[in-house]
């Protein structure tokens, strides 16, 4: 793969004495949607924490656009163009929707002078958020909250988005809507690295798939191939997928 946007090389790390990533290595193609799948405990979310400077690594290297970013703080990574949308609800329920959105600009450097206009543009893109801009974020539905999180992450014009389980707790319709937003971003040149339990739907809209098991990369390739690989279905996607095969 030429000129990957992100490279992990033999990354080892975990929580306290428990090692989760046992030498994880992979490369992420620029301008693609890559979905990481794998069984529980494979280290999918831990990979994101490792990339985003939230995990102490005992060895290994992480490079973004060719620059070694291993151990960088979240703020520095945001400035470099990486955004992380963690699993679950990541809003501040007692603050207004607008104030929640403004937090996406915390890491903005002095050269970004059009932030108010970007915030207005983000609200314009989602009329339902615009309507509730001055209400507490707790009044948003689950789907709207996820939209708010994604919009917040886009204020700094990131080059790479790490998004963990975007479909969790959303209705099928809202999952499609959220995946639609991600596809739209990919079409505009943003690279998306996603962890998703809803593996079939996620792989169907992805360019590539990456299979993680016990903290190691077991397989990486075009999403369609991963989706239809009987070993993957057997090992990671549960009985239903195996029957399809």
């Amino acid at each position: 793969m030429d000129n990957p946007i992100l490279e992990l090389d033999e990354v080892v790390g975990g929580y306290g004495r428990i090692t989760i990533l046992h030498g994880t290595s992979f490369r992420v193609r620029r301008g693609a949607i890559i979905t990481i799948i794998g069984p529980n405990g494979a280290g999918k979310s831990t990979v994101f924490k490792a990339i985003f400077g939230l995990l102490n690594l005992s060895s290994g290297t992480i490079r973004f656009n060719g620059t070694d970013i291993t151990g960088w703080s979240p703020r520095r990574l945001l400035e470099a163009g990486i955004v992380y949308v963690p699993q679950g609800r990541n809003i501040f329920p007692e603050l207004s929707v607008r104030h929640n959105l403004e937090f996406g600009a915390v890491a903005a450097g002095p050269d970004i002078t059009d932030m108010p206009a970007r915030i207005e543009a983000a609200l314009d893109r989602f009329p339902s958020l615009r309507q509730k801009a001055d209400q507490q974020a707790s009044t948003l539905s689950g789907g709207q909250q996820k939209q708010l999180e994604i919009m917040r992450g886009l204020l700094l014009d990131p080059k790479l988005i790490l998004i963990d389980e975007p479909s969790i707790g959303l209705s099928p319709l809202l999952v499609q809507e959220t995946f639609g937003i991600l596809t739209d971003l990919r079409n505009r040149g943003v690279t998306i690295l996603m962890v998703e339990q809803n593996a079939r739907s996620a792989l169907e809209m992805s360019d590539e798939g990456l299979v993680l098991e016990l903290g190691r990369t077991r397989m990486q390739g075009p999403a369609r191939e991963i989706l239809h690989d009987p070993r993957v279905a057997q090992l990671f996607l549960g009985g239903a997928m195996a029957e399809v095969e």
Binding site: P74, E94, L95, V106
Partner: protein, 292 residues
């Protein structure tokens, strides 16, 4: 009636002091899960430091006040977090709470041995006259304390809700993990709450000491009532701590006047028990669930 109004105003004045201490209490709890059982001593000590600077350094009172408050905020805002909270919180809320109990004893005994065991006069920056209004004797000092404390709390509320830094402080308190991911300097925001807590305690000290005199044991009652005020109002809300402080102050004042001076301390405790039984999240608090 005139007597009742006078007691009411006196209660609101001491209640405003409890509110200042209670708000600091809730702030450090929200951002760092610190239950500071030395909060009363935090209100006691600044006045002692100021008097010590006047006595030992010969500094004019205004300069001693500025230096004393600055030294207190440095030692018991920044220093408290670095030396006690950060190392202890890794072991859990309870060890830290016990450490603050030890700190309270050290501060109290240190003030007694290092400065004086006797109550000392503390000059007032506020007017001390009493005026008569419609037959009611009103202490201007009490009115001024209420106004200054309310202005400080209003200013704090404005800062927390209307400024970007204040909202980042709220974010760091509500969900530090998400705040970190957004690039919010969580550690700096938490430190800011400790500095604000020390500042509020120092203000309370300067306001209350002209009435109570500066004495090493002042923190016992103030700490207890600030704790009760925070729980009565709601441990997770600034406005709750304000309301709790005023309610406790008024109840204490009226209990002393109309029930018994001997049992006055018990009345706010009875209120505490009732609130815990009937509305454990406090009058203005929100229900919280924590995983243990």
């Amino acid at each position: 009636m005139a007597e009742f109004i006078a007691y009411l105003i006196a209660g609101l004045a001491t209640g405003a002091i409890y509110a200042l201490a209670a708000i600091g209490f809730t702030l450090v709890w929200q951002t760092s899960q610190t239950i500071n059982f030395a909060q009363g001593e935090f209100v006691m000590l600044p006045a002692i430091l100021i008097l010590a600077m006047v006595g030992f350094l010969g500094a004019p009172f205004w300069l001693a006040t500025v230096l004393g408050i600055a030294l207190f905020v440095l030692l018991f805002g920044w220093g408290f977090k670095i030396v006690i909270v950060d190392p202890m919180i890794r072991h859990g809320v309870l060890p830290l709470a016990i450490a603050t109990m030890a700190l309270a004893i050290i501060m109290k005994e240190g003030a007694k041995d290092g400065f004086s065991a006797e109550a000392q006069n503390f000059p007032s920056f506020l007017p001390v006259q009493t005026i008569s209004l419609g037959g009611v004797s009103i202490s201007l000092q009490h009115i001024a304390i209420i106004l200054v404390a309310c202005a400080a709390i209003g200013g704090l509320q404005w800062f927390v809700t209307r400024t970007k830094t204040g909202r980042q402080m709220q974010a760091a308190a509500q969900n530090p993990n998400v705040a970190l991911v957004l690039g919010i300097p969580v550690a700096r925001m938490v430190m800011l709450t400790f500095l604000i807590n020390a500042g509020l305690a120092a203000l309370a000290s300067v306001l209350i000491s002209p009435i109570y005199l500066a004495k090493f044991s002042n923190g016992e009652v103030i700490g207890l009532f600030a704790f009760i005020a925070a729980i009565v109002g709601g441990f997770n809300q600034v406005r709750g701590a304000l309301a709790g402080g005023l309610i406790v102050g008024v109840i204490d004042s009226l209990a002393a006047a109309y029930i018994s001076t001997s049992y006055r301390l018990a009345v706010p405790l009875v209120l505490l028990v009732i609130i815990i039984l009937v509305k454990p999240e406090g009058l203005f608090g929100r229900k919280e669930e924590r995983r243990v």
